[in-house]
């Protein structure tokens, strides 16, 4: 037993990573994994888990620190080097080529050949079948990856790693995209692998999963390690305290909501994605003036599709959505904004900011055409400067000046720029999609407080968040999305507990249609 304790298959010592944009994603992190264990790497989004694992898999190089595999110091300059050391990774966003078949994807980079130069397709298929059988991971070798379900894609990813001789498997939030059955199946497969002597690093922030299958866990917060623990000897409360910190959990004080008229009215939205997967079905709800309606749910249950549709990024198959009676489904973003809708987008680097533009330029992107910022054909620079200085001050954006480029800011301050713009346009409806993901505690608290203030001042708020604490604490009432359908509606969030929420979020329970129907306040 003593021997086994010291049998560390992976050790990372004093790892610091500074990205070219100046963000320090890891600061002096120590991390180690024992042979043959399932080890959880936990932390909120942006805590630095992915960065740490990218370095272990050779996708990024540490700015400082050393990595040891099987006790030997290694330089992992590329995934190839990592694979050579027996490390394989299953990424959160699948690393698959959609137009290739399952077998082609699996043998990519190590293709069996015939006649010296051609691909031996038959052998590739056989190899796939052989490994699939050995590890009990059922896949269809000849199907195009574009056409297979998500669960199978994940198996393809795991097979890809195993076939390359991986003994250490890194799984980056593997259950985020899976159904309950698929998750259960995955866990059986992982335990099976563990029994065969494989080591698994399991990135997650879902407590129940961690408790269920891991032996030990490492918690990260704000780019630093909060320590390594035996799963059996640490309570969920303790984990959650280490992960999120108590201050945030008790951070928000708010009065009872007094909702009035319906602002956003969504009826019977249906959406089928390109691979013919039904992502939303029969989604109907109302958001009223003066309330925060939260949408909870495990990611990938239709939240993104729903928000995209409300902001003209996708077209639904059918259904309607109106803001104060006006159609938003067929309106352009310009028209939607003219109706007084603001969006804090989930993917802030793509939609929220122009990274090489200045803070000032980012703050006026939705209002630069307004009369107050223009004098005839020219900009009224004085008014623009005053506006941006005011917003920088009101939203405590830490910066050198309004002329600083946004990409030079920290994640939290970038989000503050987005929020400053979206919250200050006197909106009638704010859609906040993962508004505090991956940002520091201070900025998180600030943004949450602003959201509450705005709703109490009469704005309708639709809050979409995968962060259960956030969505439960901020929302006045709440719906749960599961499998593209509304699984539950809670008019009052003060009596909720996570256990019950979890059951709805994971599809173990579903309210009756009548109960759910109460979220539509207007018939």
């Amino acid at each position: 037993m003593e021997q086994k304790q010291n049998d560390l298959v992976v050790q990372m010592k004093g790892i610091t990573k500074v990205y070219p944009n100046g963000i320090a994603a890891n600061q002096g992190v120590d991390f180690s994994v024992r042979r043959g264990e399932i080890h959880a790497l936990m932390g909120e989004n942006g805590a630095g888990k992915s960065t740490l694992m990218k370095m272990l898999f050779g996708l990024e190089q540490p700015t400082e620190g050393a990595i040891f595999v099987n006790g030997e110091k290694v330089a992992l300059h590329s995934p190839t080097a990592a694979i050579a050391h027996g490390i394989g990774m299953v990424h959160q966003h699948f690393m698959l080529v959609p137009s290739l078949t399952v077998a082609e994807n699996i043998v990519l980079g190590m293709v069996p050949k015939k006649s010296g130069m051609f691909i031996d397709f038959k052998k590739a298929t056989e190899l796939t079948k052989e490994f699939a059988a050995r590890f009990n991971l059922a896949v269809n070798p000849d199907a195009k990856v574009a056409d297979i379900p998500v669960g199978m894609k994940q198996k393809v990813e795991i097979l890809k790693a195993l076939i390359r001789g991986a003994k250490i498997l890194i799984l980056d939030e593997p259950t985020a995209v899976l159904t309950t059955q698929e998750t259960a199946e995955l866990f059986r497969e992982l335990v099976h692998l563990k029994e065969q002597g494989y080591t698994i690093i399991f990135i997650s922030h879902k407590l129940n999963e961690i408790k269920q299958i891991t032996d030990r866990l490492t918690i990260m917060r704000g780019g630093k390690s909060m320590g390594i623990y035996e799963t059996a000897s640490i309570s969920e409360q303790e984990i959650s305290r280490l992960m999120v910190g108590r201050d945030v959990i008790l951070g928000v004080q708010k009065d009872t909501a007094a909702p009035t008229d319906v602002v956003l009215k969504v009826r019977n939205l249906e959406y089928t994605n390109e691979w013919n997967k039904k992502m939303l079905s029969g989604v109907s709800f109302d958001v009223r003036k003066g309330e925060i309606l939260g949408i909870a749910g495990v990611e990938g249950n239709g939240q993104r599709e729903l928000v995209d549709m409300l902001f003209d990024l996708r077209e639904p198959d059918s259904g309607t959505a109106t803001v104060n009676g006006k159609d938003v489904i067929h309106a352009s973003q310009a028209r939607i904004r003219a109706m007084g809708v603001s969006l804090v987008p989930e993917d802030r680097m793509t939609y929220g900011i122009a990274d090489s533009a200045t803070i000032e330029e980012n703050l006026i992107s939705d209002r630069f055409e307004e009369k107050r910022f223009n004098l005839g054909p020219l900009f009224n620079m004085k008014a623009i400067r005053a506006e941006s200085d005011r917003l920088i001050q009101d939203y405590t954006v830490l910066c050198k000046s309004r002329k600083q480029k946004v990409k030079m800011l920290s994640g939290g301050n970038i989000q503050k720029v987005v929020v400053a713009r979206e919250f200050s346009s006197d909106p009638t409806l704010i859609i906040a999609d993962q508004p505090t993901r991956g940002i520091d505690v201070g900025a998180t608290e600030f943004i949450r407080k602003k959201l509450v203030d705005l709703s109490r001042a009469g704005t309708a708020v639709l809050l979409v968040s995968a962060d259960l604490n956030e969505v439960m604490e901020l929302s006045d009432s709440l719906i749960v999305l599961y499998g593209g359908k509304i699984a539950a509606y809670f008019e009052d969030t003060s009596q909720l507990d996570d256990v019950m929420m979890g059951e709805y979020m994971l599809g173990l329970k579903r309210q009756s249609d009548e109960e759910i129907g109460r979220v539509c306040h207007e018939r």
Binding site: H91, M95, L96, S99, L100, L108, M117, F118
Partner: protein, 318 residues
């Protein structure tokens, strides 16, 4: 006038000339296909053709061997492709700008190099003799078939190579590990690199192959088509090749058909401009107008598919 035109078009020489004119475009278009499959826009094809056309003539003159000339031209194409790769992949120059730079070298740099090597200006008239031009071959049996024989037989060796390469490139892309890697890199570079396929290496290889193909195209132009190098000889064929690749949906066979379409337009231009009362200049613009129209038709037919795919997979290039 129209009946006159019709009677020229229906002759065998016309179809023969369509094939001849298509060949250099096809070489470059295949170069665009390979680069495109690896996710690279090679706008430098034009310049690569110019430069390798010059070196084709120079090498063949120096060695008095057409074969050395062709191989030399191809190798120059490879070098230029690798140079674009170095700047675009290593130093992160925008690939479009790297291509424009190669084209600049193609326009002025070639004149400079020609002078540097030979003291000649503008063209290589005096260097070229029939023995260093790419030979033509008659295909036994085929040449005896009536009509078809005189269309298909008697072309330059490189013309046959161009059409053979359509099949070879298809084979390369769809039947070899390298082709699998190229397609994977072009469609999802992260997927390729996550299994240890070096994205850089594959893109270098694709650019080198692309350069080699443009090099053949250049050799074809100077060592057969124009029988010598001159400063205006490529005349946008490298750019047309890009359009052919786009219209051919990035596939070798598709690119061949669109190249043939442009070959037809160009052949038509030579025929029509010989007719009375037709402006040779307006007729000269036909291939370029056809290209624009072709792109419009192609774009209009794909726009829906691409839009939907983009919305679903912003991370994957469509």
């Amino acid at each position: 006038m129209w009946s006159q035109l019709l009677s020229t078009i229906l002759k065998e020489e016309f179809l023969f000339s369509v094939i001849r004119i298509t060949a250099p475009i096809l070489f470059a278009a295949l170069g665009a296909v390979i680069a495109g499959k690896a996710g690279v826009t090679n706008i430098g094809l034009e310049g690569i053709m110019m430069i390798s056309a010059l070196f084709g003539v120079l090498f063949s003159y120096w060695t008095q061997s057409w074969l050395v000339g062709v191989i030399g031209a191809m190798l120059v194409g490879v070098l230029l492709g690798l140079m674009m790769g170095f700047f675009a992949l290593k130093l992160k120059t925008d690939i479009i700008l790297a291509g424009i730079a190669v084209n600049m070298m193609g326009t002025g740099g070639t004149i400079f190099l020609l002078y540097m090597f030979t003291g000649m200006r503008g063209n290589t008239g005096a260097l070229v003799s029939p023995n260093i031009l790419i030979p033509t071959i008659n295909i036994p049996l085929v040449q005896d078939i009536p009509i078809l024989g005189s269309i298909l037989s008697g072309h330059a060796i490189l013309t046959y190579l161009a059409f053979l390469l359509v099949w070879l490139i298809w084979l390369l892309l769809y039947r070899t590990p390298l082709g699998l890697n190229i397609r994977a890199v072009g469609e999802n570079a992260n997927a390729a690199s996550s299994v240890g396929v070096s994205v850089l290496k594959i893109k270098y290889i694709a650019l080198a192959l692309s350069g080699a193909l443009a090099g053949f195209g250049g050799a074809f132009m100077s060592m057969y088509y124009s029988q010598g190098w001159n400063s205006g000889m490529v005349a946008g064929r490298g750019f047309i090749a890009l359009a052919a690749q786009a219209m051919g949906r990035g596939e070798p066979v598709g690119a061949m058909f669109s190249s043939l379409l442009f070959g037809l337009a160009q052949a038509l231009r030579t025929k029509v401009s010989g007719l009375q009362g037709v402006s040779s200049y307006l007729v000269s613009s036909i291939p370029y107008v056809v290209t624009i129209l072709g792109l419009v038709i192609y774009a209009a037919s794909t726009i829906k598919r691409v839009k939907k795919a983009r919305a679903e997979h912003p991370e994957v290039k469509v």
